[in-house]
């Protein structure tokens, strides 16, 4: 508890002071000034919007696709064991490696994904997806979701193993079809796990740095600049630790809202069950 609280309290304190990287001992109390300057900045509002879009899309995409993959892997087919092992590879890959692979796949001239997009009639322009302000966030999202899906799939697959087979059979005896069986039996068992995974995905997406930094550095024109990228830039490029801490606190508040919201939803689901 101490290990968790002390750094957090330090950050809270920093966010109310004028502290710079060049003078970490400054600690001049400025009250809400850092928060006021951050929230009054139009580019920060854009950053906040980008963060919300990024997090929401990551959660929906990874949980949705993860569930689909888990259901597929839960079925019986030849080579299932191999498929279950292989599916975890993207999750096991280091973020830096994933960013480099994705950057190469989105390369404007040689990238296989760029060529695929062109083949589908989507022209990212001569400079490619990662240099296009309209498409760069999409590319980051695709890469992030690709990396997250295996984790979600494995967690949900283990939850699927816990679905009582007798309940499934009973539902089928009662004439329930596949969809109905999934809705009234499987979904009810999966709901708490999906809630937990969704909260985890939200927090991880809020914190994600290396993938975005390496692929676009928050560009082009700030179109992929999320809270964490902004925080890094303020702390280590502008060297304003107080302002960076204020941005960090905004992130902490969002994370707390998600956790508390997730708890409330989970409790409501438990009562329903």
């Amino acid at each position: 508890m101490v290990f968790q609280l002390v750094p957090l309290l330090q950050e809270v304190w920093l966010s109310f002071t004028k502290t710079t990287l060049l003078n970490p001992n400054l600690n001049v109390w400025v009250g809400m000034a850092n928060f006021q300057s951050v929230l009054a900045n139009p580019s920060f509002r854009q950053t906040l919007l980008t963060t919300v879009i990024y997090v929401a899309a990551c959660v929906v995409g990874s949980v949705g696709l993860g569930l689909l993959v888990a259901l597929l892997l839960n079925g019986r087919f030849p080579g299932r064991a191999v498929a279950r092992s292989l599916v975890t590879v993207p999750w096991a890959a280091p973020g830096i490696a994933v960013a480099l692979i994705a950057t190469w796949m989105f390369n404007p001239q040689f990238g296989i994904l760029t060529r695929t997009l062109r083949g589908m009639g989507i022209d990212p322009g001569p400079n490619g997806v990662l240099n296009n302000p309209q498409l760069a966030l999409g590319a980051i999202l695709v890469t992030t979701i690709w990396q997250l899906v295996p984790f979600v799939a494995v967690v949900l697959l283990s939850a699927l193993q816990g679905v009582p087979q007798e309940l499934v059979e009973a539902a089928q005896v009662d004439g329930a079809g596949r969809w109905m069986t999934f809705r009234v039996v499987t979904w009810q068992v999966l709901k708490p796990t999906i809630g937990l995974v969704a909260v985890l995905m939200t927090i991880w997406s809020l914190r994600r740095f290396e993938l975005i930094w390496l692929m676009t550095r928050g560009g082009p024109l700030g179109s992929t600049r999320t809270l964490v990228i902004d925080l890094y830039a303020q702390a280590f490029e502008s060297k304003q630790l107080g302002t960076a801490a204020a941005i960090g606190m905004v992130g902490v508040v969002i994370a707390m809202i998600v956790i508390i919201g997730g708890r409330l939803v989970a409790n409501a689901a438990a009562k329903e069950a």
Partner: protein
């Protein structure tokens, strides 16, 4: 230069009567972690340590990507290494924040024969805060098999790039993505300077001045000519250059050794960047004394030792194609290996550090604004003049003048 005034002391401090006390001091330099040059620098430090028994220099290797923030944070907290080899943006930040020891009365530039061109950039608010440790000039690297005759004018440069681009071979390569913001800044710096522009006049930002726009339009002209491997990062296109897939690139002398290491058989040379003005970027790296150091005289002793002619020759050998603080002859061996080294050395006087003059500590923020707008112009979202008008406005808001 003779022996030191104190028995066992290695040097005569220039203008400083203080003699060092017995001390162990630390010297932080990202060069120490460089696999090609680190061991050579370590050897030089060992030589200093064994040359006398008063001062011991301990090397502190901090990785390049985190060097600035690590050392600046330590210094800001009242600690840090005694001696620091800084890159220019961090140097100007540290100097203007009072983290460096002024060397006005300790370094006699004339007596030491310091090269005035780069040396003038080590004065901040009329105080000297360092001495050049390394100066790496930007030149035009070109593959002699693809381009037998180096272009001499910008028009020839464009034409050569176009003529060389065939199939999977590109005439030119430079950085052009936000992910390589610092690299884009280094690249466009050469175009802006080469066309007579500058980001500021020292007191006022001049980002939207006609000369700056002209330089950036030249950069865009080459981008639009489809003569570069678009989307390829520096690591990729440098490999391509080493493998004969890129004809030309603007790079600093520090990469000569790395290029040769990547392909020992590569037939390449370096010429002056063929832009109208003989002015180009330079990676200046001064050696400085931490204002918090408890052994400033010992630190100064090492600097004075390093500035002696013999040591300057050895340091230049260690650093490869970079030049050092004083005019230093190249060895016959290195000239045989790289006949073009005098070309790079000749650029020392016209090299400009890649900071915004008068706004050094805010360079990173200004860089972000400028590069974002330049890349938006490359995307065709706006013309270069509009891009620079926006950048000027945003940067003025940032610096508050």
């Amino acid at each position: 230069m003779g022996a030191g005034t104190l028995a066992g002391c290695s040097s005569e401090p220039q203008g400083s009567s203080a003699t060092p006390q017995q001390a162990t001091i630390t010297f932080a330099a990202s060069t120490l972690g460089d696999p090609g040059r680190g061991p050579g620098l370590q050897k030089l430090i060992d030589e200093y340590n064994s040359s006398q028994h008063v001062v011991t220099v301990q090397p502190a290797s901090v990785p390049y990507p985190t060097f600035g923030q690590t050392v600046l944070t330590q210094m800001g907290g009242g600690e840090g290494p005694d001696l620091v080899r800084f890159d220019m943006p961090e140097f100007s930040t540290a100097a203007s924040s009072g983290l460096l020891e002024p060397l006005d009365d300790k370094i006699d530039a004339q007596k030491l024969k310091l090269i005035p061109g780069p040396d003038k950039y080590l004065t901040v608010d009329e105080h000297r805060y360092g001495v050049i440790f390394e100066n790496s000039n930007y030149g035009m690297f070109y593959n002699k098999d693809l381009i037998p005759q180096a272009p001499k004018t910008f028009e020839e440069f464009v034409q050569t790039a176009k003529n060389t681009t065939k199939g999977d071979v590109y005439g030119l390569a430079f950085r052009q993505t936000q992910a390589e913001e610092a690299g884009v800044w280094q690249d466009i710096f050469n175009y802006v300077l080469g066309f007579g522009g500058d980001w500021s006049d020292g007191g006022k930002l001049t980002i939207d001045s006609p000369k700056v726009i002209e330089g950036l339009k030249a950069y865009q002209q080459l981008y639009d000519a489809n003569v570069i491997p678009k989307g390829a990062d520096a690591a990729t296109f440098r490999k391509m250059f080493a493998n004969g897939k890129v004809g030309m690139e603007l790079n600093n002398g520090g990469y000569v050794t790395a290029t040769k290491s990547a392909n020992a058989n590569l037939n390449f040379s370096v010429a002056r960047i063929p832009f109208p003005e003989k002015k180009q970027g330079a990676l200046l790296a001064p050696i400085t004394i931490n204002a918090n150091s408890k052994h400033k005289d010992a630190a100064l002793d090492f600097i004075n030792w390093l500035l002696k002619p013999d040591q300057q020759v050895k340091l230049q050998e260690v650093l490869g194609a970079s030049s050092v603080a004083t005019p230093t002859e190249r060895s016959a061996e290195s000239l045989q290996k790289f006949p073009f080294l005098p070309v790079l050395d000749e650029l020392t006087e016209s090299g400009v550090p890649q900071i915004v003059k008068g706004f050094g500590p805010q360079t990173a923020d200004i860089r972000h604004i400028v590069v974002s707008q330049v890349l938006a112009a490359l995307q065709g979202q706006q013309d270069m003049a509009t891009a620079m008008e926006k950048a000027q406005k945003q940067a003025e808001e940032l610096v508050g003048r």
